[in-house]
């Protein structure tokens, strides 16, 4: 049990409201670097780097304290998210059985007991271990989707908003087209065309979520483009790329982070729905959605085979929803939902 130190050390220093929750998993607990990265907005070029770092650190700590006291619920569910991440990372340690092993003789549909906390499924596999590994599948898909769609969507929107003209027109029509078809339908098309695999689910969901980010980023970029500091930068001869990355993107961070944390919950549901329909995670990977669909025939005789995976799924979504809501109120109370 040496892993738990990572998130607990990480918590007070880094896991504040200015940081997207999805990066918590892959970042080392090197406290200093997290803070600088978290509040990247590159302003104040006249200060020395040390002063900037100190200022950011203070502002960040202040913002974090504020978040904890104003949005206790969101803060608590932020901890739930960290716990889920911990479960996903430490799945082999936490799981009591091999999630795919079928014991001999198989104890099919055994009710919850001290040996099988959540009972067993129709093949005799341990549901607790499958739920634990399911967290891994679910969070890998959601994290990858959110990272990809945040980065690409923001860039696309920022470039489109800054350049305007026909580039903007073409990109916006494509964005409209994607947004005008229900998420699950489009995901179903793409995922089933590509075949059931984790990568393909991520690809399908990214295609769907990129337009949302680019729409928000574009709107913000239009606002930023007409700001005086951008006019000034242009007058000084700054290249478009410099304006987009140095002046545009840092100012987009707040709304984008909020959207990212809310998209996280939606991506979890979407992955589960696709797996439920049989086009999501492959059969070899334990997935909450697929567990629900395979157990549904047995649910009247073995409620545990449906209730536990479903509860885990709902908890994950709930945590990201509440955390995302709190983050939105914290970063920008005026932001529309």
């Amino acid at each position: 049990m040496n892993t738990p130190t990572t998130p607990t050390d990480d918590l007070p220093s880094g896991s504040g409201p200015d940081r997207p929750p999805d990066t918590a998993a892959d970042r080392s607990p090197a406290g200093g670097s997290t803070i600088t990265e978290a509040t990247e907005p590159g302003d104040g070029e006249r200060q020395t780097p040390e002063q900037v770092a100190l200022g950011r650190r203070q502002r960040f700590a202040e913002s974090f304290r504020q978040f904890r006291s104003d949005h206790l619920m969101g803060f608590l569910f932020g901890i739930v998210i960290l716990l889920l991440l911990l479960v996903a990372i430490a799945a082999p340690i936490i799981a009591t059985h091999d999630p795919s092993a079928i014991p001999r003789p198989p104890q099919k549909l055994a009710p919850p007991s001290t040996d099988h906390f959540f009972g067993t499924d129709q093949l005799g596999r341990d549901i607790f271990s499958r739920v634990v590994y399911g967290a891994r599948t679910s969070l890998i898909v959601a994290t990858a989707t959110v990272i990809i769609s945040t980065i690409l969507g923001t860039l696309l929107g920022a470039v489109s908003g800054y350049l305007g003209g026909w580039v903007d027109l073409v990109i916006q029509r494509i964005v409209d087209a994607v947004l005008s078809i229900p998420v699950l339908i489009l995901a179903l098309f793409i995922a089933s065309l590509l075949g059931a695999s984790i990568t393909n689910v991520v690809l399908a969901l990214s295609i769907i979520y990129i337009p949302r980010f680019s729409r928000i980023a574009r709107g913000e970029m239009l606002r930023i483009r007409s700001a005086e500091y951008v006019t000034a930068a242009e007058a000084l001869g700054a290249k478009p790329s410099r304006i987009i990355f140095k002046h545009g993107v840092p100012n987009l961070v707040a709304p984008i982070i909020v959207l990212a944390s809310l998209t996280f919950g939606q991506a979890i549901v979407a992955e589960a729905a696709l797996s439920f329909l049989g086009v999501g995670a492959p059969i070899t990977e334990p997935s909450w959605g697929r567990m629900l669909s395979t157990s549904r025939e047995f649910m009247t005789v073995a409620w545990w085979s449906v209730v536990f995976p479903g509860a885990a799924l709902s908890l994950g979504v709930l945590a990201f929803n509440l955390f995302g809501d709190a983050l939105r109120d914290h970063l920008d109370p005026k932001l529309v939902r």
């Binding site: 029509r173 494509i174 409209d176 087209a177 994607v178 005008s180 078809i181 229900p182 998420v183 699950l184 339908i185 489009l186 179903l188 098309f189 089933s192 065309l193 590509l194 075949g195 919950g265 549901v269 589960a272 729905a273 439920f276 329909l277 086009v279 629900l292 549904r296 649910m299 009247t300 409620w303 449906v306 209730v307 479903g310 799924l313 709902s314 979504v317 709930l318 929803n321 509440l322 939902r337």
Partner: protein, 316 residues
């Protein structure tokens, strides 16, 4: 106003055109051939049989030629023939659409009814235990995925009340009682999350309106709290709720695919799901166009309704 509506409809058409073009070419570019699937289904896959069947279905022609004839058909209202059932897709949709429409309609009714009542109750009892309870319920409603909720409802009804919905689907005009028994659970499962979203929005926009100056004026004039709450506050809170319904409608349509499959309803959603599994291109395209059209149309309708409710928007 008319100019605005026309512009919206035109841009909606462009969007749908792009969407269908995209789907047309993507589906033909990706492996997982419909011909192979059908022959595998029939028993033997040989090269001659495949070529024969491709010619039969017109799939051996160049993609652009196929696209041109498909597009020509769409303009005339002919969405092509299903590659599996060998009959017009339009016919299949007409047969199945009422089921999906009823499901969507009933769940919107559930969503709006439950959502507004909950939101209003929460707003006028702000800060009480009722308010807290209702807010927790809304957050839960928003987070529990509809297919899990559906499974829970089926299980608890059968375990505790020994009740199972009648199995073979009946149309509402044949047997309304049986039909409603079959529709009740999917409609509720689908409507709950939208209801939760509506409740949260109703609560916050009611509170915003209740805190405004003109409400204070109305109160100062001695109006009863009922009048204040319903005539003034609720009515002015409806606009954002309308937008929300427009936006949530997409999620609702997507949900029909999964819920129709769970409850065995013969609607457009389950048709699309099966078509996707079978690579039945014309059906998939028609489904996408249909759902896209509904979604775009609902949002245009929402925009028009705005103007009717709030004259300020009409003028600008």
């Amino acid at each position: 106003m008319i100019e605005y509506v026309v512009r919206r409809i035109l841009s909606g058409l462009i969007v749908l055109f792009l969407l269908s073009t995209f789907l047309f070419f993507v589906m033909r570019a990706v492996p997982g051939d419909v011909v192979r699937l059908q022959l595998a289904d029939a028993g033997s896959v040989t090269d001659e049989r495949m070529a024969e069947m491709e010619a039969e279905l017109g799939l051996d022609r160049p993609a652009l030629a196929q696209y041109a004839s498909w597009l020509g058909g769409v303009v005339r209202g002919d969405l092509g023939d299903s590659l599996w059932e060998r009959r017009p897709v339009t016919e299949m949709i007409i047969e199945r659409f009422p089921v999906t429409f009823e499901l969507a309609f009933l769940s919107i009714v559930v969503a709006v009814g439950l959502g507004i009542v909950t939101g209003v109750a929460s707003a006028i009892r702000r800060g009480t235990v009722t308010d807290d309870g209702l807010r927790v319920a809304s957050v839960l409603g928003l987070s529990v995925p509809n297919f899990f909720l559906a499974l829970l409802m089926i299980t608890s009804a059968s375990v505790w009340f020994n009740w199972v919905a009648p199995l073979s689907y009946r149309r509402p005009w044949d047997d309304l009682g049986v039909n409603l028994q079959q529709m009740a659970m999917p409609a509720i499962a689908l409507g709950v999350s939208v209801a939760a979203a509506i409740a949260r929005l109703t609560r916050s926009s009611m509170l915003e309106v209740l805190g405004s100056d003109y409400i204070r004026t109305v109160r100062a004039k001695g109006a009863s709290s009922r009048l204040v709450n319903y005539k003034h506050a609720l009515r002015n809170s409806l606009i954002p709720i309308l937008t929300l319904i427009g936006l949530q409608f997409g999620a609702l349509l997507g949900g029909t695919v999964i819920l129709e499959s769970i409850f065995g309803l013969p609607g457009v959603g389950s048709m699309i799901f099966r078509a996707v599994e079978q690579r039945d291109y014309p059906v998939i395209q028609a489904g996408a166009i249909l759902y896209g059209t509904i979604f775009v149309a609902v949002n245009i309708a929402v925009d028009i309704t705005y103007g009717l409710i709030d004259p300020r928007i009409r003028r600008s």
